[in-house]
């Protein structure tokens, strides 16, 4: 053991003092005293030497780590980086990693030091810099260092430790700003690090490779066979072969797990030899699991099982080898009764995934009894939770009654923390696998009895409501509102109580129809909708309903709404197949989207990593979709395809089921009326009809009762430069800006956010609901005006309703000095490459504002080039898919005349002219 050198006595003394403080106040006092002392030292006339600086910086760090704020000393820490002494540098970097945030004004200095140290010939200094970047890497650092670091990684002469740090440093930058990490020569060489002799280098490199693979699996396909052979060498080695990389008799567990993870990014290898080799590896790992342990230490079993679980994950991922899947299942089955809680927990978790594979579903079911026992006897709630998840996953028609029964029993004693989810799972299973309605109703009623508070409306309102409403309708006199509710509920969920002879399909229909003649036209219209839904639910009463629909009282009713519904439903009932009916009249979606841990588990097996925006957009789309679900052919006919310019003429009268006023309070009628009134055909707003939708604003939590609006709105957003509807000036705003509000009125705010990386760009359109009510039936339509433009831009529309991706040209600024500038300027001075315009200033001629605009436009500003300092000179690159177009410009303001002269030179003819025109509109 090396004697720990007590290098900073002052620090040790200070720490002891703090530890000896008897009270919080005493500690605070001591800290303040020390802070004052350090401050005076830093401010004092006497210059401090490196050692003293290091000591004080270290004390500050300690004080910070105790949980206090530190507002000085940063400069001194940065100064330490300049030191040639390793330990001073090291403390400096530590302070920076822990304490300096990305936007600190000292960051530039830090980056300069990092740059120097990266270029140092002393590998320990290079390493310090790499470790610092790996700790705090920012986008800016990625821009600065990402091109350099790959050299350290694949260069032959860099030491092993430098390679290791470089790999993980690059990984950090890649995670922070993937677009900044260049694809190049090194990318193809990096996979060969899998063959590196130094196990540490391989261990570090695999993490980097996995991240790169996720971005671009095809480019790195070669890593599959390399990883498999590396893995094969590890699993077949004896524990002495790998020396210090063997951990408690397990050869290289970290590397093995990383390799097994990496392989989970690819489908099973196509090449038979490689595939067999992998299968052998996996079998070896499974075999080792049943061998007697080489050590009784928990470290041994943990490391061994870590590899085993990862191998099982890979087996599940490949989902192709039934024998491996079944073996994996039996191995996990043994863990279910292991004495280690951790293992039981993980086994339950892994088995959930096995249950989803057709090959192993039945094998999993064999462990049902053990899992039920776990549910009853596990002491740790998180393990019980896993057992619930697994029961849920293994449930199918054959065991549903049993599993639901067990879950109900457990519900009586279940912890409050998991009751909500448990109730949801029981309800889903009961509904999904209900074979007879009595059982379903009993289950749901039991659920309410046992955990009423946790049963959300969505769970009970179906069966319970159907039953109750039916009973209410049986009463001789009932309010018209009750008839509406009854019509809606029986239409949606009447099937749930049809098993009971007292509420058979025809009884339900007769009951509803018995009230028909007593009701007002809107209610009758609604009842007609209920009837057509009954046709879907109960084909056996179709003829009865057709008879009602075709009766003159309906088909020739003086009320247009009734007449139209009758005739549309009639033809739907007569002519449609059961499939069409089922699709058009699909029942309301079952439960609110809720993040269940099990669903998250299942999703994690899918390779697509969805960023937050996408998830949100998808949710919004799902929400909108839910609202849009066509209950009625009317809605189908009118529904989604409104166009901005014709929509003013659209009438919008189907204030039907969703808008149904349960409490009589919903303003649905008013909304419908507004739409029918024709609205304003205001093209500029292009926003028509009445309401707006749920969209991405968080206020949306639509429930049947609050679906206040059968309103809809269409916003037509043209892509890029061609947008005409919102108005030129609104579009031009985005020439110099990347985000802003595109359109706004009392109801809706439409925002745009653009983001460009090289030649591709992303335009996200946000719709914000400004009203207090959720908005239904929202749809966004993307209009691409002409196909040639579409081809030029290569527009990709992402399959979510409210997100548009389009690739647009974008400028990237570039730096150069005076000589190069003029050299390029002259090279590009042929007439078609040059464009000059003299024009009146459109905005006040303020130098700072102009500067911001030019930078926002994407040009860099170069100072000290033009002899007249009032002139603006700069350069930029227009990046397109087919190549980059360099451009230079010079802008000469004339304050007296309030005029500008703008000259643009660029490589491609036409580009100058367009840039000129665009800039002209901005200044």
């Amino acid at each position: 053991m090396p004697a720990v050198k007590d290098s900073m006595r002052g620090l040790a003394v200070f720490i002891s003092d703090i530890r000896n403080c008897k009270s919080k106040e005493a500690e605070e006092k001591r800290i303040n005293k020390e802070l004052a002392n350090i401050r005076s030292k830093f401010k004092g006339d006497k210059a401090l030497d490196g050692y003293q600086k290091k000591k004080y910086v270290c004390k500050l760090l300690f004080i910070f780590l105790l949980g206090n704020d530190i507002d000085f000393g940063h400069m001194e820490a940065v100064n330490l980086l300049n030191s040639n002494k390793y330990t001073e540098k090291q403390i400096g970097y530590l302070f920076i990693s822990v304490l300096i945030s990305e936007n600190n004004e000292l960051m530039r200095l830090v980056q300069q030091n990092l740059k120097n140290d990266l270029a140092s010939r002393n590998p320990v200094h290079v390493n310090l810099a790499l470790e610092c970047i790996a700790n705090i890497g920012s986008k800016e650092m990625a821009e600065m260092f990402a091109p350099e670091i790959p050299k350290l990684l694949v260069m032959g002469d860099a030491g092993d430790t430098v390679k290791q740090s470089a790999a993980l440093c690059l990984l950090k930058l890649f995670r922070t700003a993937p677009e900044m990490v260049p694809i190049g020569d090194w990318t193809s060489r990096v996979i060969h690090l899998l063959n590196d002799q130094h196990m540490g280098v391989v261990t570090a490199a695999v993490s980097l490779i996995e991240a790169l693979v996720k971005r671009n699996p095809d480019d790195f396909k070669g890593c599959v066979s390399l990883s498999i052979s590396r893995l094969a060498r590890i699993v077949t080695s004896s524990y002495t072969d790998l020396q210090d990389y063997t951990y408690y008799f397990v050869p290289a567990p970290w590397l093995s797990v990383k390799l097994l993870r990496l392989l989970q990014n690819y489908p099973p290898p196509e090449d038979t030899t490689v595939r067999n080799r992998l299968a052998e590896c996996l079998e070896t790992i499974l075999n080792k699991a049943v061998e007697p342990p080489k050590s009784k230490k928990v470290q041994h079993s943990n490391a061994k099982n870590a590899v085993l679980f990862e191998a099982i994950s890979l087996i599940i991922h490949m989902d192709s080898d039934p024998s491996l899947l079944v073996r994996a299942c039996s191995q996990l089955g043994q863990f279910l009764s292991n004495r280690e809680t951790n293992l039981r927990y993980l086994a339950l978790e892994s088995m959930c995934l096995l249950a989803t594979s057709e090959f192993s579903h039945d094998a999993v079911k064999r462990h049902q009894e053990t899992v039920v026992t776990a549910l009853k006897s596990e002491r740790d709630v998180s393990v019980r939770q896993r057992a619930v998840d697994l029961l849920y996953a293994m449930c199918d028609r054959s065991n549903a009654e049993e599993i639901v029964g067990e879950m109900l029993t457990y519900l009586e004693t279940a912890d409050y923390s998991i009751r909500g989810e448990l109730v949801l799972k029981i309800a889903i299973l009961a509904e999904k696998y209900a074979s007879d309605y009595t059982w379903y109703v009993d289950t749901i009623l039991n659920l309410i009895r046992l955990a009423g508070d946790f049963v959300s409306e969505e769970v009970w309102y179906r069966a319970y409501a159907a039953k109750t409403v039916f009973e209410a309708l049986e009463a001789p006199a009932c309010h018209e509102n009750m008839v509406k509710v009854g019509g809606y509920i029986l239409g949606e969920f009447g099937n749930l109580i049809a098993g009971d002879a007292r509420s058979s399909p025809s009884t339900q229909f007769q009951l509803l129809h018995g009230k028909f003649h007593l009701c007002s036209p809107p209610t009758r219209a609604l009842l007609l909708s209920a009837y057509i839904k009954l046709v879907n639910l109960f084909p056996e009463i179709r003829e009865d309903i057709i008879a009602v629909l075709e009766s003159d009282a309906n088909l020739r009713n003086s009320n247009v709404e009734i007449q139209q519904r009758a005739s549309e439903y009639l033809s739907l009932a007569r002519n449609s197949t059961q499939d069409v009916l089922a699709t058009v009249l699909e029942e309301m979606p079952p439960f609110p989207e809720r993040e269940s841990s099990i669903l998250a588990q299942l999703r994690k097996k899918k390779p697509a990593v969805e960023d937050a925006i996408r998830v949100r957009a998808r949710k919004a789309a799902a929400e909108a979709g839910r609202q849009l679900r066509p209950h009625l052919p009317l809605a189908v006919a009118r529904g989604v395809k409104l166009q901005g310019d014709i929509a003013g003429a659209e009438s919008n009268t189907d204030s039907d089921l969703l808008g149904l006023d349960f409490g009589g309070s919903a303003p649905a009628a008013a909304a419908g009326g507004g739409g029918a009134g024709g609205g304003s055909v205001d093209l500029l707003s292009s926003i028509l009809d009445v309401g707006v939708s749920s969209s991405s604003s968080s206020s949306a939590a639509p429930s049947a009762a609050s679906g206040a609006s059968a309103q809809r709105k269409t916003v037509v957003v043209g892509a890029g430069a061609s947008g005409s509807i919102v108005g030129e000036e609104n579009w031009h705003k985005f020439v110099c800006k990347n985000s802003g509000v595109l359109y706004e009125n009392d109801i809706l705010q439409v925002g745009v956010k653009c983001d460009y990386q090289q030649s591709s760009g992303r335009i996200v359109v946000y719709y914000g609901n400004k009203t207090p009510a959720p908005l239904a039936q929202f749809a966004s339509v993307i209009n691409l005006p002409d196909s040639s433009l579409t081809n030029q831009l290569g527009i990709q529309v992402k399959p979510v309703g409210d997100r548009v991706g389009a690739s647009e040209q974008v400028n990237e600024s570039s730096e150069m000095d005076s000589a190069t500038f003029f050299q390029h300027w002259k090279q590009l001075s042929q007439p078609e490459q040059e464009c000059q315009k003299i024009f009146q200033a459109k905005f006040p001629m303020d130098a700072e504002t102009t500067k911001t605009k030019i930078l926002g436009f994407g040009f860099s500003l170069l100072s000290n080039i033009d002899s007249n300092p009032a002139n603006f000179v700069g350069a930029g690159i227009v990046q397109t898919k087919s190549g980059n177009i360099g451009s230079l410009f010079r802008l000469e303001p004339n304050q007296q005349a309030q005029m500008y002269r703008l000259t643009v030179h660029s490589i491609k003819p036409g580009v100058s002219k367009r840039l000129c025109e665009l800039l002209e509109t901005q200044i």
């Binding site: 390793y86 993980l168 490391a303 951790n342 998180s382």
Partner: protein
């Protein structure tokens, strides 16, 4: 990847914090507070893994110190336990049966050691020998650059001015 590692005492005092993802100080304090409370409330035989937000918490107690890591859904919990153990072994070997006090008084060493073992939230070097060799080399550099200087200072040959 690992998102952070926290070391805290049975009394809930934070002894070491390593964040591999950027968070504001306020957020860090909140996370620390939440986790310390949650973990200290757990009983000995309970499962060492906890679902927490969209991450997994893996923790283990060594004498008076709790080690707690947050890893992603796709990471391996069992191996994370062994990351903790290997780190403890490294500290133990370096300090000679490490105790909480060693980490308090030599917190900077604890950080340096962690950086050699893990970087950017991923395991960098699993060989105990290699990590300790790297740390020993750092110690050597420290002596090289400090010993002669203090000697010279003692003799009054050079002043402790700016280099």
């Amino acid at each position: 990847m690992m998102h952070f590692m926290l070391l805290f005492s049975r009394q809930g005092k934070l002894r070491l914090q390593k964040w591999y993802m950027a968070h504001s100080e306020k957020m860090k304090k909140k996370i620390t507070r939440d986790l310390v409370t949650m973990i200290l409330a757990r009983k000995p035989k309970m499962c060492a893994f906890i679902e927490w937000k969209d991450l997994k918490i893996v923790y283990k107690r060594y004498a008076s110190l709790y080690f707690c890591c947050a890893i992603e859904q796709s990471d391996n919990e069992l191996l994370c336990l062994e990351i903790i153990h290997r780190y403890v072994e490294l500290l133990d070997q370096y300090f000679g049966s490490v105790c909480e006090l060693d980490i308090i008084f030599n917190f900077e060493k604890a950080y340096f050691m962690l950086d050699e073992f893990m970087l950017g939230g991923e395991v960098q070097e699993t060989s105990k020998k290699n990590v300790l060799k790297a740390i020993a080399a750092q110690d050597l550099l420290q002596e090289e650059c400090e010993e002669p200087k203090s000697l010279l200072e003692e003799l009054g040959i050079v002043s402790t001015g700016v280099a």
